[in-house]
């Protein structure tokens, strides 16, 4: 029993060596950079008309998904876990994508009913 626990811990330690302090700060600056770009778009480009709001909205969502990917993969360590765990968590989130698509469609229909 204790052998199994020790083996598990050892495996975990071996995997976790891949997230060094340097990598942590690198990911932080990536997140900061993406956030800065979002603010640049929201406060400068859209008001000045350089980018229309209809293009900016999908861009925000893509950038936010990028941030989400970095947080989940590196800070939450999912990238370094066994691939089975990664799929167990990520595949069900496809339901969320499905819900977004369904309700976007619905809301376009609701506009006509208002």
């Amino acid at each position: 029993m204790s052998d199994i626990k020790h083996t598990e811990l050892h495996e975990e330690h071996a995997e976790h060596d891949t997230m060094t302090r340097k990598k942590i700060w690198q990911v932080f600056f990536v997140l900061l950079g993406i956030t800065a770009i979002e603010f640049l778009i929201a406060l400068v480009m859209v008001p000045k008309g350089i980018i229309s709001i209809n293009i900016a909205n999908p861009v925000y969502i893509v950038l936010t998904l990028a941030k989400a990917f970095y947080i989940v993969a590196y800070f939450m360590h999912l990238k370094f876990e066994k691939v089975g765990l990664m799929y167990s968590i990520l595949v069900p989130t496809l339901f969320i994508i499905g819900l977004i698509l369904v309700l976007t469609n619905e809301s376009h229909h609701w506009v006509d009913l208002r």
């Binding site: 199994i4 083996t7 598990e8 811990l9 495996e11 975990e12 330690h13 995997e15 976790h16 060596d17 997230m19 060094t20 302090r21 942590i24 700060w25 932080f28 997140l31 900061l32 956030t35 979002e38 603010f39 929201a42 406060l43 909205n57 925000y60 969502i61 936010t64 941030k67 989400a68 947080i71 989940v72 590196y74 800070f75 939450m76 360590h77 876990e81 066994k82 089975g84 765990l85 167990s88 968590i89 069900p92 989130t93 339901f95 969320i96 819900l99 977004i100 309700l103 976007t104 619905e106 809301s107 376009h108 229909h109 609701w110 506009v111 208002r114």
Partner: protein
């Protein structure tokens, strides 16, 4: 009996990941369960945010975010759109970084370093909650609330949009509900972090031989940050 008898396949002890006796994903039980809880919480928050999106994009008019959120409570009254929420986002992202640095120190068994990073994380967490409280207070003063909206709505809509009381109320209700639910998660996350911090200082995890508990609460804290990233995008940017 022959000592070199070959065991039949059915009697062999299997050591493949799914053969039993250990975690198939090579993670401890608590960590796997934390991941599944976070998945369920992601569904809850997604439902709320997607409902917001569906209502907002089916509305004939909707208050403009940069008209409602343009103050820094206590410092600037008007004309600073998105500045305060930018500060809040920065605070939470930094607290996520300090949390992961604490987890990394835990892998090296550096007890004092873990405690240090956890303390910084908790401080930043309280700063975020304080900012959220200031934001709510500012909005309450302007007349927003659950079931309440200001008298004069013109200043919260874009120039060529007719103000609508119905949709302003929907916005206010959803804003306070979703940010409140998120703030509740931040608060519980802080309580949990403090409990773990006390355990770190007491040497519980040195005795146990693993700082896995710090890693598990770290997952919860990152999830809280992740949700904020989405809330920020859908309420303040889009």
């Amino acid at each position: 009996m022959s000592t070199t008898a070959v065991t039949s396949p059915i009697d062999e002890v299997k050591t493949t990941p799914w053969a039993g006796g250990r975690s198939p994903f090579s993670v401890e039980y608590g960590k796997m369960m934390m991941w599944f809880f976070l998945l369920s919480d992601a569904f809850t928050f997604s439902s709320l945010l997607i409902a917001y999106g569906a209502l907002r994009f089916s509305a004939t008019a909707w208050p403009a975010a940069d008209k409602i959120f343009q103050s820094v409570p206590g410092l600037i009254e008007h004309g600073a759109p998105l500045v305060f929420v930018g500060i809040m986002t920065f605070i939470l992202i930094v607290s996520s970084v300090t949390m992961v640095l604490g987890v990394e120190a835990g892998h090296r068994g550096a007890r004092k370093e873990v405690a240090g990073w956890l303390i910084v994380t908790v401080i930043f967490g309280f700063m975020f909650l304080g900012c959220q409280a200031l934001e709510w207070n500012h909005l309450f003063h302007e007349g927003f609330g659950w079931g309440k909206i200001p008298h004069d709505l013109k200043e919260f809509f874009s120039e060529n949009v007719t103000p609508s009381a119905t949709y302003t109320q929907q916005f206010a209700n959803l804003f306070f509900t979703i940010t409140g639910f998120h703030g509740f998660h931040v608060f519980t996350g802080l309580i949990i972090n403090i409990v773990i911090l006390i355990n770190v200082l007491a040497g519980t995890y040195d005795r146990r031989g693993t700082y896995g508990m710090v890693e598990k609460v770290g997952l919860y804290w990152h999830f809280v940050d992740l949700v904020w990233v989405f809330v920020f995008t859908f309420f303040y940017l889009v």
